[in-house]
């Protein structure tokens, strides 16, 4: 038996380093059906699936697993999911529906994300989903319909203590220093750490081969670190990370001012601006040949914006802009629908009505106008707020 399987945690108290997530999932199950679905997101090996199973066990719930890789079409989703959500369990036990890796579900295809969202609205049992990257645009309908909980990579101390406990039980004799090396190499991925430990268990090695890279995707944070700190012709830098060039673009944009100041800042933005100009040309004329220019400006262009290598640690952040716009749009949906009605009434564009909204507010507040535009109660509520 693989060690990683054998030491899969089964109770809340065994899950280390994820206290916040545990509180959140407890709350979710207590408050259900206030929110009908929960998404646990974070990198591999942080305990997303374990936490879901532990939650089921602690609450004496049966787990119905929908593995999204098997369920890429509507027929199957309906066949398996509907009976589960619309019928009670055989043994009168409550259920939890677990969907692993929802990022594997296709975006708009039949039976893809829209079906998951329908499922969330129609379910009679709490749904728990896991995914690595929640911020892909195709997942935004799921984001909107669910409670989201982040699972952070485990810190080195936590990993070392878990590894030590396993060694003790398995009778593996290794130095603490060895454990620490494995922990560093794992980048917070507990499963990877245990697997590494397993592979060294019966050898006499006392050091870990740090160069032997796992063929998993390069973390975007490492890519950013190399891009901003080093000065290199990074033409294939982005190949190792499992994000589209446009997504990487947003990451770079968010983090430029954290690294570069003044001239470097202006130079880096000029490179990004150039990349965007070529991207625009690609979009408009489908000139995919220009992709190489976008790539070069976006990689080497950013890297060479500084005169020499940078040192020190910088904490990079997720791109906030898309999220901010999305949140804003959620908040402003009433404003938009009012503007649309008004624009139709006075023969101008919705955009213009949105722009002049503050000017129009007094007249929109008049009951006669609200009646003429057939405003809904929510829209009137928005104006009175």
């Amino acid at each position: 038996m693989q060690l990683a399987e054998k030491y899969r945690v089964k109770k809340y108290e065994e899950i280390l380093g994820q206290d916040k997530a545990i509180i959140e999932i407890k709350e979710f199950l207590k408050q259900y059906p206030k929110k009908r679905a929960l998404v646990l997101y974070g990198p591999a090996g942080t305990g997303k699936t374990c936490l879901a199973w532990a939650a089921a066990k602690e609450n004496n719930l049966e787990v119905l697993e929908l593995n999204s890789s098997d369920l890429r079409n509507r027929a199957k989703l309906e066949e398996i999911a509907k009976p589960a959500t619309e019928q009670q369990s055989l043994f009168k036990k409550g259920k939890i529906i677990l969907m692993d890796e929802v990022d594997g579900v296709t975006g708009t295809d039949i039976g893809g994300i829209p079906e998951v969202v329908r499922l969330i609205h129609s379910t009679r049992h709490p749904i728990v989903m896991t995914c690595n990257d929640l911020w892909q645009s195709k997942l935004s309908p799921i984001r909107a319909a669910s409670k989201v909980v982040e699972m952070k990579p485990l810190d080195i101390g936590t990993i070392v203590s878990i590894l030590s406990r396993i060694c003790e039980k398995e009778g593996i004799k290794k130095e603490p220093q060895f454990m620490k090396q494995i922990a560093i190499k794992s980048h917070g991925d507990m499963r990877a750490a245990i697997n590494d430990l397993h592979s060294y268990a019966d050898t006499g090695d006392m050091t870990v081969d740090m160069t032997e890279k796992r063929d998993v995707e390069e973390n975007i944070f490492n890519v950013l670190r190399r891009l901003f700190k080093e000065r290199q012709e990074f033409l294939d830098l982005f190949d190792s990370v499992n994000l589209s060039l446009d997504e990487i673009f947003l990451w770079i944009e968010e983090n430029i001012p954290k690294e570069y100041k003044n001239e470097e800042l202006a130079k880096a933005y000029l490179a990004l601006s150039n990349a965007d100009v070529f991207r625009g040309r690609i979009y408009k004329n489908q000139s995919w040949r220009f992709l190489i220019y976008q790539n070069i400006f976006q990689s080497a262009g950013i890297s060479f914006a500084k005169p020499s290598q940078l040192l020190g640690f910088t904490k990079y952040e997720r791109p906030k802009r898309v999220l901010k716009i999305w949140l804003h749009n959620q908040k402003m949906s009433q404003k938009k629908s009012i503007s649309k009605k008004f624009a139709h009434y006075v023969h101008c564009s919705t955009k213009r009505a949105m722009r002049d909204f503050e000017l129009l507010r007094p007249m929109l507040k008049q009951p006669s106008t609200q009646k003429a535009l057939k405003m809904s109660d929510e829209e009137i509520g928005f104006l009175n707020r």
Binding site: G280, M354, F357
Partner: protein, 321 residues
């Protein structure tokens, strides 16, 4: 039409003779309509000078009471693509016009918001339905309308309304609504509307909601409130070297006011000349701004171009660019 309290509608002229300004155009359009056969029309000119009004008058004149059944209004900047436009045109054009007019009328507002490709597609649509439909298109700049469409239309260039025209409209409304407005306030109102009659009326109505006695100060307060003055704060942050705050504030302004990047660029370009900096730097900033506007048209993400502009302003603020 029911009684309305939205003044831009309440006081919208519904007869050719009521229209203020644009007298040459009115005369020609009127005679076209009297012949009961209009060609496709293209109305070009800035916002708020009577393009939509004239289109409405045309259909009301042609179809009388039943104009709504024979008239489709689309706003190109709001539709989600040329396919939506074509589908709506198709559905509308399927049935024959009633009354004794042999065609229906489609008003496509802000047609210059369509891309060149979309306009090519539109031109096909115009041809396919030319038996049953007439198009009236409006745009801010006729140069943004492709030649084949222009050549299928009679083009009318609307002029900016003169001061006396706008004053006349405002005075008439004040009369009907029992408002008192000082000459100074009229002056300020005209200036802040920038020749846009719709805007002038909206500012007037917003001001009148506070008090029927309208002063210059009230107009100033109301009209400045509706402008993105926050742009100055963005520029101040950038020129003082604080990029992150400048960027955050910029995004806030864009979201709060729902303005496009192009509108922001225009506001920046204007604001530069109000800043307390060396004229020489103003010229350099303007150069950067122009470049950013150009890149915005070529590129795909307006906000990136604006960030690049702010980054270059930081250097200019230190006298280095």
């Amino acid at each position: 039409m029911n009684e309305t309290n939205i003044w831009t509608e309440k006081f919208r002229p519904s007869k050719f003779d009521d229209v203020v300004g644009q007298q040459e155009i009115i005369k020609r359009v009127k005679s076209l309509v009297q012949s009961m056969n209009i060609p496709h029309l293209l109305f070009a000119g800035p916002a708020g000078i009577g393009k939509s009004t004239l289109a409405l008058i045309i259909v009301k004149d042609l179809f009388g009471e039943r104009w709504r059944e024979n008239y489709l209004e689309l706003n190109a900047s709001d539709e989600r693509g040329i396919d939506v436009v074509r589908q709506k045109v198709k559905d509308f054009a399927r049935t024959k016009a009633i009354e004794n007019v042999p065609f229906k009328v489609i008003f496509l507002d802000e047609a210059d918001a369509l891309t060149k490709e979309a306009q090519q597609a539109l031109r096909r649509t115009m041809e396919n339905y030319s038996n049953t439909c007439r198009f009236i298109m409006s745009c801010n700049y006729s140069s943004r309308i492709i030649d084949p469409i222009q050549s299928r239309c009679v083009v009318f260039r609307f002029k900016l309304l003169e001061k006396k025209d706008i004053v006349r409209v405002i005075k008439k409304i004040c009369d009907k609504e029992n408002l008192k407005i000082s000459d100074e306030a009229l002056e300020i109102l005209y200036e802040s509307a920038e020749g846009d009659c719709r805007r002038a009326i909206n500012i007037l109505q917003a001001t009148a909601s506070i008090s029927p006695d309208i002063t210059a100060e009230m107009i100033k307060m109301i009209s400045s409130q509706a402008k993105p003055t926050d742009i100055k704060i963005v520029l101040d942050y950038a020129l003082s070297g604080d990029f992150i705050n400048a960027r955050d504030k910029l995004l806030d302004v864009m979201l709060k006011e729902s303005v496009s990047g192009t509108d922001i660029i225009k506001a920046i370009q204007k604001e530069i000349w109000n800043l307390q900096i060396e004229p020489e730097i103003k010229v350099r900033l303007t150069e950067k701004t122009g470049e950013a506007e150009f890149r915005m048209i070529e590129g795909s993400d307006e906000f990136v171009q604006l960030q690049a502009l702010l980054a270059s302003f930081i250097l200019a603020g230190q006298g280095k660019a």
